[in-house]
Amino acid sequence: MIRLPLGEYFEAFIDLLKDNFDPFFKGMKKGVLSIIDHIEDFLHFIPWWLLIILVAILAWRLSGKKLGILSAIGLYIIYSIDLWSEMIDTLSLVFSATFLALVIGIPLGIWMAKKDMVERIVKPILDFMQTMPAFVYLIPSVIFFGLGKMPGAIATIIFAMPPVVRLTNLGIRQVPEDVVEAATSFGSTSGQMLLKVQIPLAMPTILAGVNQTIMLSLSMVVISAMIGARGLGEVVLSGVTQMQIGDGFEGGIAVVILAIVLDRITQAVGTRTNAKKTS
């Protein structure tokens, strides 16, 4: 049997990028890092008790008293097991990665919905991005950006972006055809169509995509501890490598709490938009 040297080809391709586009990656690194740093500085600046109160109020307003109280208790548990600072690191990375994934993903989804050709090209790429084991993204990320939170963020963006792209596309395509026809017949420009009709009607679906993207970034941010991203993932990883069952468990619990709080709050945003439409 002749072995197909697929791996070698890919390596050669990565080397090629590395050799020829280094300035581009450096610039990108600078930009992304500054976003992460700003979010991190801001979240670290807020005292722990204030953040808990703010999150609780947000959850209460969006969903109800129950979610407000549960969020407060959950976050307080993280504080009381002394993982607050790690949690903030993780949260900052999740926010930055999600932010960038949305900035790229939503317009891409809209473009896909408007042009069948784009959909045909992008869909298989999204399949690829989602099914490739997440760890694999870590390697080229490290090659381009070194160790630390930057490659973690890039790997996270790639891994977490597909749902929001898919669901934005789906949401816009699901807007009933006669409603689009009606908007056209009254003389909407394509921008007016998008802003006044398509995006508002697709919003619940887009928000479901945002929720998915946040959850996927959280899971990836934890994994990217393997390439030196700090935060809760680091705690879990050191627990695993040093067989510290207790530390690992605490880190794991903190991730679970963070996940539940983020998930419930973003879902509540989604159902509120839904409810407004049919109320």
């Binding site: 006669d178 007016q192 439409k277």
Partner: protein
């Protein structure tokens, strides 16, 4: 000048329609074309004019191309060839800007399934056409309220469409089209999704609104009764071809082909045909000064037993029967004045035959068709009421 003129319009679906166009113009059949090039024919050489203030109904079964046709008029569907003139301006091949202005100012559309924006209130829905024209909020909301009042939906301005019944939702759809003050309304099966009672109500209201607004309405339907009821003129479509254009009566009386004939087979003609369609010229009338002898001679000439009496301006005075005339003559009278009978049934030309039937059953004499100033236009003998309903030429007299 016609408000809307359509000239040799073609719509061919499928790959490379321009290549299939010559074949269609040569008269290739639908099936053959599909086999040969894979194209389908949506509209095949449609031409018609719609006059200002007219309700022009396009009717046909599903797949006849009527929905395609109406969507070509504001280019929701791009025609393959032909011309569409709106106020004298050809909108086929015009620039995007011109098209946008036509859609905003000249043509508004009402949809079969309402197609309201579910995330907007009723007033915001109605104001949409003005919103995209960047009309200031206070002004467009004011106009939206006015339009809603016109369709009888005052008080629902801040509701959401999902809170309204089907009939009310379509009123919103109608108000949305009225709010832009476009002259031309395209109504695509606008009432087909409503249940029968509501549908009838909406048809009546549309007719009433039209009396006031004098829009130019192009109305699509698959329901012949609806077409006959609201249409000033009707175009019947079959497989993309306009087979006949005419007034309801022309279509009922002179169907162009078997397709139209099959269509109108089950129509309740009594509802559609009016007195003026079955009336005939009076065989003879006498004037007051003619006297009894003249009247009797005229009756004898045409072989009738009664005759209408008019004055110089053909204003109806009454009727004289042969029996009364003979009696009067025996008594030695000569003037018609003494024996003239005023107890006759009259009707105007627009009365449907259905309403004439009870009269025709009761009355002994022919029914006189008169205009507003009592001028005699024609007469209807009882047989012609029945013959009209059955769709046969009325031959016999009373």
């Amino acid at each position: 000048m016609a408000k809307v003129t359509v000239k040799s319009l073609y719509k061919i679906y499928g790959p490379r329609p321009q290549k299939a166009l010559p074949l269609v113009k040569q008269g290739i059949s639908k099936d053959e074309l599909l086999k040969k090039t894979g194209n389908g024919i949506g509209i095949n050489d449609a031409s018609f004019d719609v006059q200002e203030g007219e309700i022009f109904v396009v009717m046909g079964l599903s797949g006849s191309g009527k929905s395609t046709l109406i969507r070509c008029l504001n280019r929701l569907i791009e025609p393959t060839a032909g011309e569409i003139h709106i106020d004298g301006q050809n909108i086929v091949g015009c620039s995007d800007d011109v098209l946008l202005q036509v859609r905003r100012k000249k043509v508004a559309m009402v949809f079969q399934h309402f197609a309201l924006f579910p995330h907007r209130t009723v007033a915001e829905n109605v104001a949409y056409g003005l919103e995209v024209q960047k009309v200031p909020p206070e002004e467009r909301i004011k106009k939206a309220y006015e339009a809603l009042e016109m369709v009888g939906l005052s008080g629902y301005e801040e509701s959401f469409p999902s809170e309204l019944s089907g009939g009310m939702q379509q009123r919103v759809g109608l108000a949305r089209a009225l709010a832009t003050e476009a002259d031309i309304l395209l109504m695509d099966e606008a009432f087909s999704a409503l249940d029968p009672l509501i549908r009838t109500e909406m048809q009546d209201e549309l007719i009433a609104l039209q009396e006031r607004m004098k829009k130019t309405i192009i109305f699509i339907t698959h329901d012949l009764d609806e077409a006959l009821k609201i249409g000033d003129r009707i175009a019947i479509m079959k497989e993309g071809v306009v087979v006949q254009i005419g007034t309801p009566e022309e279509i009922l009386d002179h169907p162009a082909d078997d397709y139209v004939r099959a269509f109108i087979k089950d129509v309740n003609r009594a509802k559609v045909l009016t007195a003026s369609a079955v009336m005939k010229k009076p065989d003879g009338v006498v004037t007051l000064k003619d006297g009894i002898r003249v009247a009797m001679r005229k009756m004898e000439e045409v072989g009738i037993s009664s005759i209408f009496v008019v004055d110089k301006a053909r204003i109806l005075q009454g009727i004289v029967t042969i029996d009364d005339a003979i009696d009067a003559l025996k008594r030695g009278e000569t003037s018609l004045q003494a024996i003239i009978n005023n107890d006759i049934e009259t009707t105007d030309g627009d009365t449907p035959l259905l309403d004439l039937m009870p009269i025709a059953i009761k009355t002994k004499y022919p029914i006189a068709v008169i205009n507003d100033s009592n001028k005699l236009l024609g007469i209807i003998v009882r047989v012609s009421v029945l013959a009209g309903i059955l769709g046969e030429e009325a031959e016999s007299n009373d």
